[in-house]
Structure formats: C-alpha cells, structure tokens
Symmetry: C2
C-alpha cells in the first residue's frame, strides 16, 4: 500500500487523510472477535471510564493479543506511515479506544504530540497516528473531530487535565480552540468499519461522549521515526513504549491467515 503524491500533499496541507474501507469486513470481524476477551481482562493496560466499568482504552494489545500484533505490523498500517515519516518507525503507543455505547466519555481537545513531548520527551513531531475503525463511525456515536490545518501551529500551550475524565491529558484552552476552529473549521470523518484515518501528531482533535446504543471502537497506532524515539521513561512502558526496533511488516493477508489457523486449532481440539 503506497500513498500517491496527491495524498501525501493532502496529509501535509490538512493534517489528515481518510481512507474508507481499507480493511475488509472479514478482517474487521477477526479483530472485533478478540475484543471481549481483551476488555474482560483485569490488568493495568485495560483502562476504564470514571464509572470503573466500561473500557475506555486498552493499551498495548499488540503485546498480549496475536490479532492486534498483526494489525500493528500490517503493511496497510505501517507502509503509509514509513512513507510519511520518511524512514523506519517503531510503535510509540497502541490503543484500542472503546467509546462504548452510552458510556463512552469525551476526549477533550488536544494534540497527541503535546503529551509525547511533555511527558515522554519525544524530540520532534516526527510521529503520527494511524487509526482503524472497528465499528462504523457516524455523526451519532461520538465521531473523532479534527481541526484541519491546526498541525501547522506546532506545540500549543496546554494544561494538564486530571479531572474531566479517568485519563490524564494535556488539553488546550477554549480561546485557542475557538481561534483554530474559526480558521480551519471542524471535520468529523465518518465511514464504515475498516476505514483508516491517518493524522499528524500535532493535529488538534477531540471526540464527544457516545450517547448512542452502538459501540464506536477505534484502534490507534502511534508510530514514531526510530531516530526520534522518546528520551524520558516517566510513564509506564505499556503507555509509552521503549522498544525502538524498526517494525517489519507482516504479509497483507495475515489477519485472514490468523483466522484460518484459529479455526483449524478449534477443529483439531474438537476432534
């Protein structure tokens, strides 16, 4: 999977690229099938909402789940990132953000690189997010919102919000959001499960609570150029990874092969 020059120019200009239906329904079904098992685990990596029940984020699932490991090494995820960041990358963060039906809470306006710079001492914004929709994302289930072109602003002043939600975040003030949104507008890319969103690590974004009866799960892989790895290890390893080995991609059909193997094992076990 290679981005065209026009796509690279669009990413640079707008700060994001939306690629609908990049993964098939079968591939998404493989990943979704693993979610109940992951979300049921009582481990530090599985972070809950303020209610203590609904999952907000499952961190680092590529370390303890094979299907999500394959996704983290998938050529449709990693090759475009290598193109945009111009070289080998490692995974800085890996998040399954659940935004559960009814319970999924807000993510306030922020820049990811703001947190990576302040908390992890990542030297430059040579890092980005690539997200996969595991559910259809629509206007009604808490879509991700971007302020286009805001990534050109560099790192904006932010305050450390420890109160609004269960997860600490460096968030931007209202005056800044108003100014940026009046300039660039706000977009909420929506589309079917399997769609991919790539966005710059300084792009300002947020998402509202999900009041719909439908889950809105998105997997976020935050990739960083290997030369640009973090210098400070203040946050847990499962939040900000410390293995800077370049990612080697797996085969394009690896998720379907994983499903096949799993079915074979199940059949063998049943015999």
């Amino acid at each position: 999977m290679k981005l065209t020059d026009a796509q690279i120019a669009e990413f640079d200009r707008e700060g994001y690229l939306f690629l609908p239906s990049t993964f098939s329904a079968e591939e998404i079904a493989v990943l979704k099938g693993e979610l109940p098992g992951i979300f049921a685990q009582e481990r530090d990596e599985v972070w809950r909402e303020q209610d203590g029940k609904a999952v907000r984020t499952a961190f680092a699932a590529h370390h303890y789940n094979e299907a999500f490991r394959l996704l983290g090494h998938h050529p449709r995820m990693i090759e475009p990132v290598q193109q945009l960041l111009d070289g080998p990358v490692y995974i800085h963060q890996y998040k399954i953000n659940a935004k559960a039906a009814f319970d999924g809470d807000v993510w306030q306006w922020h820049q990811d690189y703001g947190t990576w710079a302040r908390d992890d001492q990542m030297p430059e914004a040579r890092a980005m997010n690539i997200a996969v929709f595991l559910d259809e994302v629509s206007a009604v289930n808490g879509p991700l919102m971007f302020i286009p072109r805001s990534h050109k602003q560099g790192v904006l002043e932010a305050g450390h919000d420890l109160e609004t939600t269960s997860y600490p975040l460096w968030t931007l003030d209202r005056k800044t959001i108003r100014r940026l949104a009046d300039e660039g507008g706000i977009v909420a890319p929506t589309g079917p499960a399997g769609s991919v969103l790539m966005f710059h690590s300084t792009l300002v974004h947020a998402s509202p609570p999900n009041i719909s009866p439908w889950d809105r799960t998105i997997v976020y892989i935050s990739a960083c150029h290997v030369d640009n790895h973090i210098r400070q290890f203040k946050r847990p390893e499962w939040v900000a990874h410390r293995d800077f080995t370049p990612i080697e991609v797996v085969e394009d059909d690896s998720l379907l092969r994983f499903r096949q193997q799993k079915q074979q094992s199940a059949n063998t076990a049943a015999e």
Copy 2:
C-alpha cells in the same frame, strides 16, 4: 405556509419533517440579537447547566421578549402545526435550548409526551414540537438525534432522571433505545440557521454535549390542540403553560417589521 400531502405523510411515517432555511438570515439575526439580554437575566425561567453558569434552557421567552413572542405566533411555525394537529393549538411549552459552546450538556433519550402525560396529565399525544435552528447545527456541535418511526410506539416506560443533568427528565432505558435504534436507525438532521424541524411528541430523541467552540441554540415551541390541554398544574406555569387560548398568527414579515421599529426607536432616542 402549507405542508403538502407528501410532507404530511412523511411526518406521519417517520415522526419528523426537516425544512432547511425556512427563516432568513435577517430574521434569525433579529432573534439572536435578543439572546444575550435574555440569557443574562437572573430569573426562574432561565435554567442553567450543572455549572450554574451556562444557560441550558430559557423557558417562556414569548412572555417577556417581543421577538420571541412574534416567533411563537409566526405563520411558518403555527400553520403547519395546525395542519398536522387538525385544528387550533395553544403553546404548551416554549424553550430556547442554548447547548452552549463547550458547556452545553447532554439531553438523554426521551419522549416529550412522556413527560407531558406523567407530569401535566395531557390527555393524548395530540401535541408536537416545532424547532428553529438559531445557529447552524452540524455533526460537531451536539445535534438533535431522532429515532425515526419510534413515535409509533406510544408512551414507553421511563424513569425519572434527576441526576444526569440540571433538569429533571423522564428518560428511557438502554434496552429500549437499543431495540428502537436497531429497528429505525438514528438520524441527526443538520443544516443552516433558520432551518425548521417538526417532530411528533412521542418521537424518541436526545442530544449529546456540545464540545465544539460554537453555540448550538434551538428554539422549541411545543404546541398542543386546544381540546387536549393539560389537566394537572404540578409544574410551574412558565414550564407548562395554562393559557389554552388558540394562537392567532401574526404577519409573515413580523420579525423584520419588529427590527425596523426597534431601529426607528433607537434612532429617535439618539436624536
């Protein structure tokens, strides 16, 4: 303003009708110009969010503001309602719902007639809402969400939610919402300021918090057939009105004439 037979059939089938740009930018500007004065008033009718500051709802503004009185008697609001309810109507409720930038909070899933039946003893669902967007409503500023065709379910079981927000509301349980949304889907009609939304009093609806930097003000006029007036006066008069006199419509250009008169008075005062 007359609805066509096709529009009447659509309202009956889906439970709502959306009429973009029914009021002009000039007319909306007249109404918006009155908002700061209304929202600044410290009076019972002006209900605030849990923060005690941002306005959630200004009730009964047609009783203390001339522009909003004219809107409540406007032929583009009242004539379609008279058609749909088949006779003379009175105003049961009049709300300016602010859904302020950043602060506007959720309205949980509910049916308006559920509250009117339980709290006000309105005999039948021969009542409906007609709403005007005073701001553009988009996917990003907390749009109103409907479950199409849910109005055919009659009055659904509900619980009295006194906790989620600052305003008490009879809300529906999650299982019911999931069932209805799986059947009918969820729509979020969006459009420019001046657009009008009509919806049945048993149509299930909600709206998420507004995390955008833009206000999302909608005026709701709840009209009821005069024969179907409420029987119980438990809630304050400014929440559930007790004047059942049929509304007589004003002239179609009344908002622009109001603006003209106001400008003339201002000029006279300045001379």
